[in-house]
């Protein structure tokens, strides 16, 4: 897969841990047709900032259901959200307890260590 010349994604990611003042950070990501938002977030961790917190296990199969987040205001699985060569805004789920950055508590409460 080749990079399409000069096409970039401007990824605006809401960051911070529970209790912090949340902030947006912007990442300039090369665009490859057919990629997902999760691919771009994984690229950011490997190439720019490994502290960015994301959670996934199946990567591409939409089986694990762990990568649920908000992209441009809509709740999506990041592995299913198509990456586009423009500004994209990525945020944690607003209705779940925030853990850090794009990770929220999504497990059923009876499968958590500390039951809510």
């Amino acid at each position: 897969m080749s990079h399409v010349d000069n096409l970039r994604v401007n990824l605006r990611v809401k960051r911070g841990a529970a209790g912090d003042t949340l902030r947006f950070e912007t990442y300039d990501v090369p665009f490859e047709p057919g990629q997902s938002v999760l691919d771009a977030l994984r690229w950011v961790r490997a190439q720019v900032d490994p502290t960015l917190a994301i959670r996934y296990s199946c990567i591409n199969a939409n089986a694990c259901k762990e990568c649920m987040m908000r992209v441009d205001g809509k709740t999506v699985y990041a592995c299913l959200a198509k990456l586009e060569a423009r500004e994209m805004v990525v945020e944690p789920l607003p209705n779940k307890p925030l853990v850090r950055d794009l990770v929220t508590e999504v497990a059923p409460s009876d499968e958590e260590l500390y039951r809510r």
Binding site: A17, Q47, T51, L52, R55, Y56, N60, A61, Y77, E111
Partner: protein
Amino acid sequence: MHLTTDVLVIGAGGAGMYAALEAARHGADVLLIDRSLIGRGGATVMAQMTVAAAVGGECPDHWQHHLVDTLRAGRGLCDPALARVICEDGLECILEMDAWGVGWARKEGRFTQVMAPGHDRPRCVYVDFLNTGPAVSRTLRTQLIRTPGSIRRVGDLLVTGLETQGGECVGATALHLSTGELVTIGAAATVMATGGLTRLYRRNSASANMGGDGYSLALRAGAALLDMEFVQFFPIGHLAPRMIGMDPIMWDPFRYKLGGRLLNGNREEFVQNYGAAVSDKYIVTRDLATYAITKEVEAGRGSPNGGAYLSFEHLSAEVLREAFGPVIDRIANNGIDLTKMSIEVAPIAHYHMGGIQVDAQMRTTLARLFAAGEAVGGANGANRLSGNAITEALAFGRRAGRYAAQDALASAALRWDGARRDAHWYTQGPSRLDFNPAQMLVELQALMSDEVGPFRTEAGLQRALHRLTAMRAQVGEVPPQGTGGLDCIRIDWFDLFQMLLVAELVTRAALLRTESRGAHQREDFPGLDESWRLNQVVNMEGSKLSFERHMVPASVPIPDATELV
């Protein structure tokens, strides 16, 4: 926090969930943990289709026929007693899953079974459409929830070490990912059901959890592993065009149901040039297809992205729709019309035949530690038969749960009280790393794919070993200090700590085995060498690895299969 239980099950895929159910049925209190969500994080949930079991839906069958095929596929290295558990117990598990409502496909009341490569008859049950793994996971999780009281399920726990006392496994330490807290767990018996190691490779078909941590944890605690050189590559993993929301092994079911044509870059059939019969049926074995595709690419006859074409263009839209229903729409959403274009496929790391050494009761060589599923080595020898992975997960899980419960309920069973001898290990590390661990994981995957893939040479394996040694030195032996919940740097460090050891085991075992057999192909030692009909067993003392060659366990008596119905 300190937790205590009779039986600790690590990993909540098919093997772990079945183990938990069976241990509870035998009277044990069970703690089932996973680093991801329960029932969603392992390989089971990603299974697309085939599950081998001699249920005789299409034609008469017997588990002993299945055993003959399993042993033949294993190229002389299977432990026959373990292979027998897959075929005999697996059959019972498949029927129990049916009673639990998994929904195996049926026609007129009989199981529908497909013919998979290496089987002598149609033997693989499945759940439509491409829904086998999710259905198996959901069914087992429902049973866990229905088992009152005695099974506790906790996700988000990454096990970082097993605890031993007096040569017995007495529990584990885990990092609670969402808080960063260390959790100690005292257990009278522990079942390792953490799956395989395919995350070591760049292109793989399993989840990001499958970095081989169970192998590393077991080895470091004193259990033996075997046959670590045998990584199965699935020949026709999706390569291009890029698709989202689809598992890369999805074309396997297409071939089961529809055949399809495998073509090189010149759009010619080619597997016949490597000794396989050309057929509109899907019969070429995984190791041969992987070899044929790789050699075509090397000869300059690959598809544009470095694989082969897979074509269903000769089929009508109606035929595709009948076989795969809504999956056709998901493919169309990715801009692909299978009646008008071929897709590209290439080998992809899929499964690990090697793993933790166990006996037929799933006992490892470390007392009170059991293993189940892909974490186990030896059952599938040098090459796993299609369809045996889910069957073994269920069958091994059930056995491990039963015998772990039996051991745990014995009166003398110790449980760790959580008092740490190595507390400093978790707190004395550097406050930050001087390298990007996410980048190193990418580098590790590239290195293993390039040098320790399906085709190996001494020079390439030595290059890999050299680089792995340097990477292990950079990662060090002490984790960085934590910074709270979902600390990805610390999580990556633990993953690298385990994965780099496992990568070294695969590489060293591959260097030692100077022959080509099944999934292990040495280009400098072509052909099977009968004197290498041996298992390679590895142990670790301190930081020292020792490899030994063991005779393959003797065959179990099998009646003449032709006399069976």
